[in-house]
Amino acid sequence: MIKCANLNISFENKNILKNITLEVQNHLSILGANGSGKSSFAKALSGLIEYDGDITIDSQNIKTLTPNARAKLLSYIPTKLELYDTLITVEEFVLLGRFPYKESLFSYAKKDYDIVNEMLAFLGIAHLAKHTISELSSGEQQLTLIAQALAQQSKIIIFDEPTANLDPKNSQIIAEHIKALKKEHTIILITHDLHLAAFVDSQVLFIKDNSAKLYDKEFFSDTMLEKLYGTAFSNLAVRYD
C-alpha cells in the first residue's frame, strides 16, 4: 500500500504538486495533462527528486531506505532507452537489473544469469540476447527495459509512458504484459493513453492544477472524462463496464 501525507513537490521554486494526501490500495494509473506533474510524482516515489512530506510504501518511509533497499522494492521503466554506451548487449543490459543483488565485487553469479535468461524467454526476446541495444526496434527496446525491471525482482514497477513511442501492435503487446504483471507486482502506470489505462484496470490518480485526486472505475465514464479533460471523447472506443 502506498501512502502520501502532505506531499509537496516543487521544481525551481515552482510548485508542481501541493498538499497531496492519499492512500493507494494496490495498482495505480496516473493521468493528467502534459506538464501536470505525473512524472514528478513517480520520480518522488522512486527517490529521484526531493520532496516535502512523507511517502510510505507498506509502512516504510521511502526517505529512510538505502539506495539498495529502494532498488529491491521499486523499479522504474523510462519511456525510452537512451544510453551512451550503445555497445552493451541485451543480455548485459538486463543483467544490470541484478545489480542490487550482486554479491561479488567483480562478477555476477550464475543465478543472476539464470534469472536474466528466464526473463528474456518470458518476454519472448531470448533470440535478441546477444544483439546490441542499438540494433533493436522501439518495441524490442521497451521489452528489454521491462526484462531489466523484472530481473530486478522489485515488488513495485513504475512504467513511465511505456507506449508513447510504439505502434498499435507493439502497444498491445506491452499492454498485455503490463496487465499480466499485475498478478505478482504492484504496477504504477503513467500514461496519456486512456485505452491503456482502462485496459490495465486499476485505480486512477488524475493530476490537474497542482492537485491530485483518486478515482475508481467511474473515471472512464464519458461525463467524468469530459469534466476532467474539458473536452468530449465521443469517438473513444473505451467503454468501461
Partner: protein, 321 residues
Amino acid sequence: MIKNLLWLTLIVLFFLAPLVGAVELSLHEILQGNTLNATIFYNLRLPRVLFAFFAGGILALSGLLFQTLFRNALMTPYTLGISSGAVLGAGIAIKLGLATLVFGIGAVSLFGFAGALLTVFLLIYLSQFLRASGQEALLLLGIALSLFYTSVLMVIFYLGSAIQNDMLIRFTMGSLSVIGWKYPILIAVAALLLLLFVYRYKFELQLMSISDEQAKLKGVNTKRVTLLLLAVSSLAIGVLVSISGPIGFIGLIIPHIIQKLYPVNITQRILKTTLFGGLFLVACDMLSRTLQTQSELPIGIITAIIGGPFFIYLIIVNAKK
C-alpha cells in the same frame, strides 16, 4: 587480423624502445653491465620507457573514465582544463624561482600537482550551479578555465627571464624524459591504483554510462562513486602532468580506437584501453627520440600530429554510418 598485427607491432616496439635513441644500444653491451651504455640503459632508457607506458595507461584510462562518467565523447582531463591547471601551477613555481625539494619532489611538480587538483575542485564547485544534465556546460567551463590559465601563463611568460621562459616552454610541450627510477615507480603506483579503482567500480560505471537516474534506481550512490573516481583519476593525472607536462590526445583518441576495434561494453574495454594507451605512448616516445631533429621532438607534438588526423578520420567514419 589487423587488430592482432597492431598489438604485435606495438609490443615489438615496446621491447625495442629502450634500445634505440641518440645512442644505439646492443643487448650484448647491456648484459655486460658496468659500461656507459649499460648505465644509459638502466638509468635513462628503461625508466623512460616504463614511465611512458604507465603514463599512457593513466591518460587513456582517465579519458575512458571521464567520457563514461559524463557520457560525453569529448570529456577528458585535458579538455576539462585539468592539464592546463598543472601547467599554470608549474609556471608559477618556475617564475617564483622555487627550487626547494619536498620529499624529494621538485617545487615545479608540487605546484603543477596543486594546479591540477585546484582545477578539479573548482570544476566540482562550479558544476553545482549547472543542471544535472549540464555536460556541455561543464565542458565549456573546462575550456573557459583552460583559456584563462593560458592567458595568465602568457603574463608570466612576458614577466619571465629567458631561462625561466625556456623551462616554461619545455614544460608546456610535455616530456617523458626521466632520470632514475623515482618517477617511473611513482607513476606506476598511480596507474595501478587508478586501474584497481576503475575495475572495482566497473559495474557502477556501466550503470552510470546509461544514465545517472538508472544508476540511482539500481542502488548506486552516484554522487559518491563519481567523486571517488574523479578524485583518484585527478590525483593520478595531477601527479603525472606535474612531472611530464601536458600530453594531449591520448585520453581522447585511445578510448575511441579501442571502441572501434572492440565493439563491446565498457567493462570489457577497461584493461584494453589502459594497455593500448601505454604501448601507444611508448611508440610515440620512441618516434620522438629517433626522428633526426636538432633536439628531441616534444612528445606532446608527436601525439597531436598522430592524434589529430586520426581523430578527424574517426569522426568522418562515424558520420558515414
